[in-house]
């Protein structure tokens, strides 16, 4: 079943980030705050709006992810590529430091 998380790019350098359960913007999807029902999704959207106002991140979006065991797996290819890095340069992006997810 798909659930939702909040993702964005960091203002200063464009780094892909996800809103963590601790309220911080995380560089990896693990630990992202998961919304499992409509009210929680609304709360994510609100969090997104306030994050834009606080000028920490840009291009904030709620995305669909699947919970696969302990991993979060973005439903759309676009989001999987954002999560890992370019599929044609495995030495770049987050996958270069964290080759686990596929």
């Amino acid at each position: 079943m798909s659930v939702k998380v909040l993702t964005a790019n960091r203002l200063t350098d464009g780094e892909v980030v996800w809103l963590g359960a601790n309220g911080e913007w995380l560089e990896h999807i693990d630990g992202a705050l998961i919304a499992r029902h409509a009210e929680a999704v609304d709360a994510l959207e609100e969090a997104g709006k306030s994050a834009i106002k606080s000028n920490l991140v840009i291009d904030v979006n709620v995305i669909d992810v699947e919970e696969r065991g302990t991993d979060l797996y973005p439903v759309r290819l676009r989001e999987r590529i954002r999560q890992l890095g370019p599929t044609i340069r495995l030495d770049l992006g987050k996958q270069a430091e964290k080759p686990k997810a596929a």
Binding site: L11, D13, G14, E15, V16, I52, D59, I81, G85
Partner: protein, 556 residues
Amino acid sequence: MYRYDEFDHAFVSARVEQFKDQVERRLSGELTEEQFRPLRLMNGVYLQLHAYMLRVAVPYGTLSSRQMHKLAHIARRYDRGYGHFTTRQNIQYNWPALKDIPAVLDELASVEMHALQTSGNCIRNVTADHFAGAAADEVGDPRPYAEILRQWSSMHPEFSYLPRKFKIAVTGADRDRAAIQVHDIGLHLKKNEAGELGFAVYVGGGQGRTPMVAKKIRDFLPVEDLLTYTTAIVRVYNLSGRRDNKYKARIKILVHETGTEEITRQIEAEWQAIKETDLKLPQEDVDAIDTYFAPPNLVQRPEGWSGLAAARKADHAFSAWVDQNVTPHKNPDYGVVTISLKPIGGIPGDATDAQMDLVADIAEKFSYDEIRVSHEQNLVLPHVAIADLRIVYDLLLTDGLATANAGLITDIISCPGLDYCALATARSIPVAQRISERFGNPERQADIGELKLKISGCINACGHHHVGHIGILGVEKKGEELYQISLGGSGDEICTIGDITGRGFSSEEIVDAIETIVDRYLEIRTDKEETFLATYRRVGAAPFKDALYSEVANAA
């Protein structure tokens, strides 16, 4: 080459300072993203999937060694050690931090470069034939006119908020290497019967979701009228181009909806009103710009030919490279060298910092300090003595830059696609890589001959798929990548938009589908001299559709 005058220096420096201040205000929170976005776009700064992207203008694709060294330095210091040369003759950096971009722009300004008007609804970087000033078949060098257009269009107050972006391309030979008929304005520099220079003027071409071949609205426009006529065209567009729908806002739609005759009438009427104004180019101004593009004083090197024959005989790979990547120069002692940025299985258009430095060094020693970027995502050394071809080849070989495939099926144009681009709907680079590997055998691709294969990862068509002899468009369908094939497109002087073959192919199927098309071509061509495009124009789509879809039907 053109050198900045005081005005250019002051103007570019002022813009760098202005942007530096805007970035500071953004980072401090004084500017919101909504306020900042149009400002960053005016300076070539996009947001892609993984990071910001900086698009740097390479005016009419011409670079000096010093500039190329600077591009290498920027890749090394501020990015991840590479850059991507684009179908707009520009270079894109995929990973710059916003806070570093003002410093990058400072570095660029120090070598007379910038990122202005590489985004936004303005007149974009003017492109030109990448063999300009060197090709044997050239009537006149298009670059002085591209430079005049650059100066005129930079920060043009009337044309800074057009309905949509606006692209101008100029060619100086009958053989169109600049794809002018798929630009908003295409200019073909030619001579009339009296031997005077002027332009055939095309308007309303473009690719994207509504591909159109431009309409010729003037067969001969005297050079002195270049700016008055261009102003008339852009003014008519600015006034009447649609602003209600982004997808119908390009001039091609205006030309199509208004009709060629009526739009020409409007342009001519506007032109009559401004024809004799300050914009009329005095010959001395044209001459002044012309001097910047005076051909280098090429040393006579007649010894090259005898040595070349022996070198070719001794090394088949070198010989194949000369056949494929060296084209005739105006001076018979010289050749124009295409440096392929399409290694077999590589990423089209990418160059590492070390490769950029190497090309800059080679150009300095062996090409009169000149480099060109082609819209086909290759680099060009425009003035290499035939006598130096062997040493240039050997140097290129040291860093994977001597692939002998210019114009062949593995010389693929590909946009960045979903691996980088926020607009993309499918990946294009991995498809290009797999096709390149499938056809990488040198004998096989030489046998197939000239075949321009172009791939876009979305409907915006940055990969020029509409004018590929074989075009591939990647889309997203039901969450999967799907690739649509078109055939028979061409961006040269006989410009055509490709025909879609039918249903699309999955990522797994697409390379086999391309091979099916190529195999069918090999079966039905009259002889080896008949290119893929010529065969397609002779037989049409049917034999290829049969090959593609009857096999699928049979298998089902």
